[in-house]
Symmetry: C2
Subunit: 232 residues, 2 copies
């Protein structure tokens, strides 16, 4: 099976959580919009009336088209060695992923607290207020939660990596880029999460991916944006 990933071609964004999973599993995949005529193919696929997606990313897997990051990962976890098999651990992994999705949405809203279709510059005063709250209340609350969920394990499910671990790696990498000051404080409090980040980064397939041209750099078009005025 060669998967077809549909996502914006110039950002990590929400698509990156899927890319990391496909890379870790060594799955064959085409990052459609990064190929020739890719944006045209993305827009055409978005336009379908057959199980349409509200927004990218979505994944074609044979005859299936699957939207929503957590849903894509749930599916991949059932077909690739990216999640435990038992019902309890499968549900728990998905629960963690959905909580990561909440944090990602809140991160987006630090730079777009009024409107996702307007420019950052047009909502800067509101962004400063929201980001101040995010840095003071939300990063600590989420990180404390994930540290509690991890406990003293190597990964959320013990010895075996899952898509939730890959996603938490990405969130930590992204928050480090966007909010270096706030994350330096947070990581001092939760060394177990830094260790999880490093453990994922050092996995051979992830390390090779991060070192490749397939890994786009963070930038100010994605979810994790470095605006120094928002980081305290």
């Amino acid at each position: 099976m060669v998967y077809q990933l549909y996502y914006w071609p110039t950002i990590q964004g929400r698509g990156e959580f899927v890319r990391l999973a496909l890379e870790e599993a060594g799955a064959g995949y085409v990052d459609v919009a990064r190929g020739e005529n890719g944006m045209k193919a993305l827009m055409a696929a978005l336009d379908t009336d057959d199980h349409p997606s509200f927004a990218p990313p979505f994944l074609q897997a044979g005859t299936l088209t699957i939207g929503q990051v957590a849903n894509i990962l749930l599916y991949l976890g059932d077909h690739l060695p990216l999640a435990p098999r038992g019902e309890a651990a499968r549900i728990w992994t998905h629960q963690l992923q959905l909580t990561i999705a909440d944090l990602v949405a809140e991160t987006h809203d630090t730079h777009h607290p009024v409107s996702s279709s307007a420019y950052y510059d047009d909502q800067k005063p509101e962004a400063k207020k929201r980001a101040a709250e995010f840095v003071k209340e939300r990063i600590p609350k989420f990180m404390e939660y994930f540290a509690r969920a991890l406990g003293s394990q190597d990964y959320f499910n013990g010895a075996h990596v899952s898509y939730a671990d890959l996603s938490l790696f990405q969130v930590i990498a992204g928050l480090r880029y966007a909010f270096p000051k706030a994350m330096a404080r947070s990581e001092k409090q939760h060394p177990s999460l830094t260790a999880l980040h490093d453990r994922v980064a050092q996995r051979p397939k992830i390390a090779a991916y991060l070192d490749s041209a397939r890994r786009l750099p963070f930038n100010e078009e994605g979810i994790f944006r470095h605006y120094p005025e928002l980081d305290h």
Copy 2:
């Protein structure tokens, strides 16, 4: 199996999506925090280190504790007649639910665009801006999407109701309460969604539930709040 639902006792909030599913399935359940010493039990259950939930609602099902609304519904859909059984339809139903969850989060942020822990009155100017955008851009975009996903079917999966239909009913009911002017416009454009709302409301078990004391009224502590200054 008697399920134990843990959620705030005085609001519909996110717990309502789970309540509606349990009611439609005729499942036995205890709404723990609404019983004697219920808030104490809720706070104690939140405090666990064993598969903790980031926030209510969470559901106890035998030895399992499941957090995140969409995850709870995925689980219930696998065990009660609330979702189709085939992989493609099961994934599609979950995808719709996750998109509904995104809309619910955006609805919350219309009255709390800066901070979820601060009062509405302390973020009113920002709320007015965000709500204006929500009413103008987001309600139309989401409703157009759900109408497209529904097509000419009775329910999202054809003849059989699923938890996603129940959740869309709840979103429409909630948005009607919070944004009556905006929703009147939207419903004129998408009569198929109004019909879906009515179809769900008239299902015998849902109708009995809505008519019972178990259904809390909408209020200004929940997700869907009626602040006339935000509705245009």
